[in-house]
């Protein structure tokens, strides 16, 4: 089943023609309406009329997450505020998040791409979709919701948590499609077992998972526990949300809706464009977005592109599952965390030196984060209760900064590794790659 056969199966020539037209249009709109881009283009002396071929996109400057942060809140909007009918923000930071704004057409576009994605997974209007992604500023909840509604499926907007209720509903409502993060999926399956509900003996026929790093082993484990095929849904708030790319039933890569999002792969260090099949950092450009078109956004996700025609019949380019990040951002329980945030929190406390280490594990299917901090003479107190209070204080400062509860362990001075260059701040024991 293909949602939009015309768009998803067109020839590469037709596709490139559409891409070029849209690229020229978006560059024009960005130049005219977004001060950040206007300035950037002026600075490097590139103007809309300089985009004559698709390769000319390489003349355009990259956009980073910091660029988007700097114009917080609404500096990237290309339309008057009243035309923005919905706002989302990126996950994780309690500092300045990245704001994403959508016009009516953008919401329709988002619905369209998610409808394509869900259809790709073998879903149709007969399906009952249980959406455990958060409904709120996070794009996961609403994105899936819009796609499901566009298709006419029955969507259960249960959002996150209430795990026992989730199981109950799966059973009572006869859920046919589950949408979750891989780690939550594993947790759900454990609770299901406790509750005596066997997903492999249920109406479940497909799973959509995303918002987190995953491995093939993880996918197979999920498929085994739920007795249904599991497909990756990829997206990012800055560009739109989930649906930018989705896996088809071949499960050999995710189709990018490249008629709306132009993908490039660059070398992380040199920013040189990589050939198809070469691994590098994914760069995405909005081609048709109205409210907040982002040009050449450096996603920091590592992947590669495959332009061969897929067994499913779609000609849209495929990307491999993301195998890593080019920066040190972590995703813990779906929340984006940067070691620099930990550092910031620690430095706010007297006597704490920035010698710390972050250890991320997944002991019981849910992510745990331990922050080891070296005890200094100033920090050390002769009294246990004071030490415990300091431990708790560090914990609450960190929680304030990243929005997540962590375990703080005080360690002896000089016991954490020092390095000549960039310190290895993060030890991720979750085996995600």
């Amino acid at each position: 089943m293909i949602w939009n056969e015309k768009a998803e199966c067109m020839s590469r020539d037709d596709l490139e023609e559409i891409q070029l037209k849209r690229l020229q249009d978006v560059v024009q709109r960005a130049y005219q309406n977004v001060p950040h881009y206007h300035q950037k283009f002026e600075d490097i002396g590139v103007f809309p009329e300089d985009i004559q071929t698709l390769e000319d996109i390489r003349k355009l400057p990259f956009t980073t997450k910091d660029d988007l942060r700097q114009v917080y809140p609404f500096g990237m909007f290309a339309v008057p505020k009243k035309d923005i009918i919905e706002i989302h923000t990126s996950s994780g930071t309690t500092g300045k998040p990245v704001v994403s704004g959508y016009t009516q057409e953008d919401i329709e576009l988002w619905s369209e791409i998610m409808a394509r994605g869900l259809t790709m997974m073998g879903i149709d209007e007969e399906d009952i979709i249980q959406n455990t992604h958060g409904y709120g500023l996070f794009t996961g909840g609403f994105g899936v919701h819009y796609g499901a509604q566009k298709m006419g499926s029955t969507v259960i907007p249960i959002s996150t948590g209430q795990t026992r209720r989730q199981i109950e509903i799966m059973n009572d409502f006869g859920t046919t499609v589950m949408i979750f993060t891989p780690s939550y999926g594993l947790y759900l399956s454990e609770v299901a077992e406790e509750e005596g509900f066997d997903p492999t003996n249920s109406q479940l026929k497909a799973i959509g998972f995303g918002a987190e790093m995953w491995t093939d082993e993880m996918r197979k484990e999920i498929e085994k526990r739920f007795g249904a095929p599991a497909f990756n849904i990829y997206g990012l708030t800055e560009i739109m949300g989930p649906g930018v790319a989705v896996e088809c039933q071949q499960q050999k890569g995710l189709h990018i809706c490249e008629d709306h999002f132009y993908p490039e792969i660059i070398d992380s260090k040199t920013s040189k464009i990589m050939e198809a099949g070469q691994t590098g950092e994914l760069v995405l450009t909005n081609l048709s977005r109205q409210g907040m078109p982002v040009i050449r956004f450096i996603t920091k996700d590592i992947t590669r592109l495959n332009y061969n025609v897929c067994g499913c019949g779609r000609t849209l380019v495929k990307m491999d599952r993301i195998t890593g990040r080019s920066d040190d951002m972590l995703k813990v329980r779906g929340v984006a965390v940067f070691p620099s945030q930990i550092e910031k929190a620690l430095l706010k406390i007297d006597g704490v030196e920035p010698h710390y280490q972050i250890i991320v594990t997944r002991p019981n299917r849910l992510d745990e984060m331990e922050v080891q901090v070296e005890t200094s003479p100033i920090l050390f107190s002769d009294e246990v209760k004071e030490m415990v209070a300091i431990k708790n204080k560090i914990g609450s400062y960190i929680e304030n900064e990243i929005g997540l509860r962590v375990n703080v362990t005080l360690v002896e001075p000089k016991s954490l590794p020092r390095s000549e260059g960039k310190a290895v701040r993060v030890i991720d024991k979750r085996n995600l790659c």
Binding site: T375, S376, P377, L379, F380, S381, D382, E383, V384, M387, V388, K391, T409, L410, V411, E412, P413, K414, S415
Partner: protein
């Protein structure tokens, strides 16, 4: 009447206590009294040694975090009720103890108890008034 006690932070890891004690042994430092306060995450090792400043320096050179705190030593007759009598005196004066630990005075066949509280001056006064026998530092270091 104040005795210098060393407090050493210990990570709850195998071998840490040994490392601290071994460091002192190698520095020829004899431990007079010892106590460990432990939590699931870390421990605080409290020591009375004859040359506290020297010991502190030695431990710090070996990357231990050390603090010096004053404590008071009292001498008790070695019979049941010896300690609870003293604690009654403290309770009656509303003195809140942080911690205490005890050991035996070899030379005199008495029990020695080390006490720590926020206000040591007050503690010393109350103990004096109550007729408790306070042990001078030299005697403690020299046990």
């Amino acid at each position: 009447m104040k005795i210098k006690q060393l407090s050493i932070f210990l990570e709850n890891k195998k071998g840490r206590l040994w490392k601290a004690l071994n460091t002192l042994a190698e520095g020829n430092i004899n431990i007079r009294a010892l106590s460990i306060a432990d939590t699931s995450d870390f421990g605080i090792l409290r020591l009375i040694v004859p040359e506290p400043e020297k010991a502190k320096k030695l431990l710090e050179e070996n990357n231990f975090v050390v603090k010096t705190k004053d404590v008071v030593a009292i001498e008790l007759s070695d019979h049941p009720g010896g300690l609870s009598d003293v604690l009654k005196i403290l309770n009656d004066s509303d003195i809140n103890l942080e911690y205490l630990y005890a050991f035996v005075h070899e030379k005199k066949d008495k029990a020695i108890v080390l006490l720590r509280t926020d206000n040591l001056e007050q503690l010393i006064d109350v103990l004096d008034d109550g007729g408790t026998s306070l042990v001078p530092p030299e005697e403690v270091y020299d046990l």
